[in-house]
């Protein structure tokens, strides 16, 4: 990685001879090496989950939140650099509010994620700014159904059935591809998502993790809220049990 740029990676306003903007790619690496985050669109809603390692024993669980409510019908997880992520969330909240005030309607998710992608992209156009080191993983549920969008730091924005970013994303993506997400309810998917996140941990055993979960589904009245503690705990425990079961049986994962 180091030295690959060889002089073309010093500024975001410089292209390499191959047509790459290295600074923007490096910003993407900030997300790739960040906390694992998963977004999944199910039959009756959408889920976001982020797995945070416990930085220090002195920290209260539930601090350093990574998942934010942007509007009643939209929520967002920000993998990568958290301060940059908060900037994106703030902008998203403003976009939602402005749209509502101007058009009289709640912002369609496609419009929101396009705007956020444009926002992230704008940071790559000026010498005196650096690109944001965080992506926006958006979950929403409107008249067109549940949506998951990822607006990346380089300015692209795509819609997904399910997506993972951060550490261990390749493994999680492989698991997600096997699932028939369109047929699962959010509750069922919660357990599966926890399972994916737990499985990709480097199993040193001693490190503690916290899985932050939030959803927007029929069960939550189509509002974006944190998954209730009991439901979250139940999903996590069920996931752990299943993993132990599999380790014993050494059988294929259920889908």
């Amino acid at each position: 990685m180091s030295g690959a740029g060889s002089g073309y990676d010093l500024s975001v306003t410089t292209f390499s001879p191959e047509g790459r903007v290295f600074q923007v790619e490096y910003a993407g690496k900030a997300v790739d090496n960040g906390v694992p985050s998963v977004g999944v669109a199910c039959k009756d809603g959408a889920i976001l989950a982020v797995e945070k390692p416990e930085e220090t024993k002195m920290m209260l669980p539930g601090s350093n939140r990574r998942i934010f409510t942007v509007a009643k019908h939209v929520g967002m997880a920000v993998p990568g650099k958290l301060p940059d992520g908060r900037q994106i969330v703030s902008r998203a909240q403003q976009e939602c509010e402005n749209y509502k005030r101007f058009y009289g309607n709640t912002i369609p998710t496609k419009v929101l994620s396009d705007r956020l992608a444009n926002y992230c992209h704008a940071f790559s156009l000026y010498w005196h700014l650096r690109p944001l080191g965080s992506a926006a993983l958006t979950a929403s549920y409107d008249d067109n159904g549940p949506h998951i969008y990822l607006s990346e730091t380089n300015g692209v924005s795509y819609r997904y059935y399910g997506i993972a970013v951060g550490k261990g994303r390749q493994g999680i993506k492989t698991e997600l591809e096997r699932l028939k997400l369109g047929n699962m309810t959010c509750r069922e998917a919660l357990k599966t998502v926890c399972k994916c996140l737990i499985k990709q941990r480097d199993d040193q055993g001693s490190k503690k993790f916290e899985i932050e979960m939030a959803w927007i589904c029929d069960e939550s009245d189509r509002q974006f809220v944190r998954v209730p503690e009991d439901v979250a705990k139940e999903a996590e425990d069920a996931a752990k049990r299943e993993i132990e079961q599999e380790d014993e049986d050494s059988s294929d994962m259920e889908s």
Binding site: F102, Y103, G104, N105, P108, V111, D143
Partner: protein
């Protein structure tokens, strides 16, 4: 409630509208102000819009006045702001034309960005924003009616101050004051397209018979999923009622 006629806001204190409700057009009255001095084109008007299942019927008279001179006796007060969204304009002709031009532009951009037809509610919100934010400068009473796939047919009323109200049917302009009773008595929910059309024509005809600032022909537009159909009823074919 919404009424606009020849009286205008005068003086530096703009916080009270001098427009009176339900007044017949008399020029010399408006608090010592001689109206004929700055008579612009006004549409003392009768306009209305009625929602039916699957669409809306919009109707208007065709008289535009400059003071007491009828500047245009066949004007078209039903203006398109998008493929399936129309507005009925009453008040100052210039103000309403300017506002609807701006709304047409906004809707154009919005629908291009969204990739689909805009909702009537969105158009009404644009009108409201303009009418409210510029309420001191404008004299515009507008009724928005149209069809969209989300709500079907819908009618929104934006009176003078810039409020936005959705109604099953709405009437406006100076002539509307004379037909509140008729409309309340004869409106029924779930009328068919043709019943609505007849309702609009009858009501406007009555308004035009009594209001000096309304007259000419009745123009109507029926908007549904398939598009817009426009009609014109000449003055000598208007439905007649009790005539001395």
């Amino acid at each position: 409630f919404f009424l606009s006629h020849l009286q205008r806001n005068m003086g530096p204190d703009q916080y009270t509208h001098t427009k009176k409700m339900g007044t017949l057009p008399t020029k010399q009255e408006a608090e010592g102000h001689a109206d004929w001095k700055d008579a612009e084109h006004r549409m003392g008007t009768s306009i209305m819009a009625v929602q039916f299942k699957g669409g809306v019927v919009l109707g208007a008279d065709s008289r535009t006045t400059t003071g007491s001179y009828i500047a245009n006796r066949v004007s078209d007060k039903l203006t398109s702001v998008h493929d399936r969204i129309y507005c009925c304009r009453s008040g100052s002709a210039a103000d309403t034309q300017a506002v609807s031009d701006i709304v047409r532009y906004y809707l154009d951009v919005h629908s291009a960005q969204m990739g689909e037809a805009p909702e009537v509610h969105t158009a009404a919100t644009f009108f409201q924003k303009l009418c409210y934010d510029n309420k001191n400068a404008l004299s515009a009473g507008i009724i928005v009616g149209g069809w969209d796939k989300h709500d079907g047919g819908s009618v929104y009323c934006i009176p003078l101050g810039g409020a936005l109200v959705r109604q099953p049917f709405a009437i406006g302009g100076s002539g509307s004051t004379f037909i509140y009773g008729y409309c309340d008595a004869n409106f029924k929910e779930d009328m068919t397209r043709d019943e609505c059309h007849e309702f609009v024509r009858n009501a406007l005809s009555l308004a035009m018979a009594r209001d000096g600032s309304s007259g000419g022909i009745i123009r109507t537009a029926i908007i549904d999923e398939n598009g817009v159909e426009r009609f014109m009823l000449p003055g000598n074919q208007l439905p007649t009622f009790y005539e001395n």
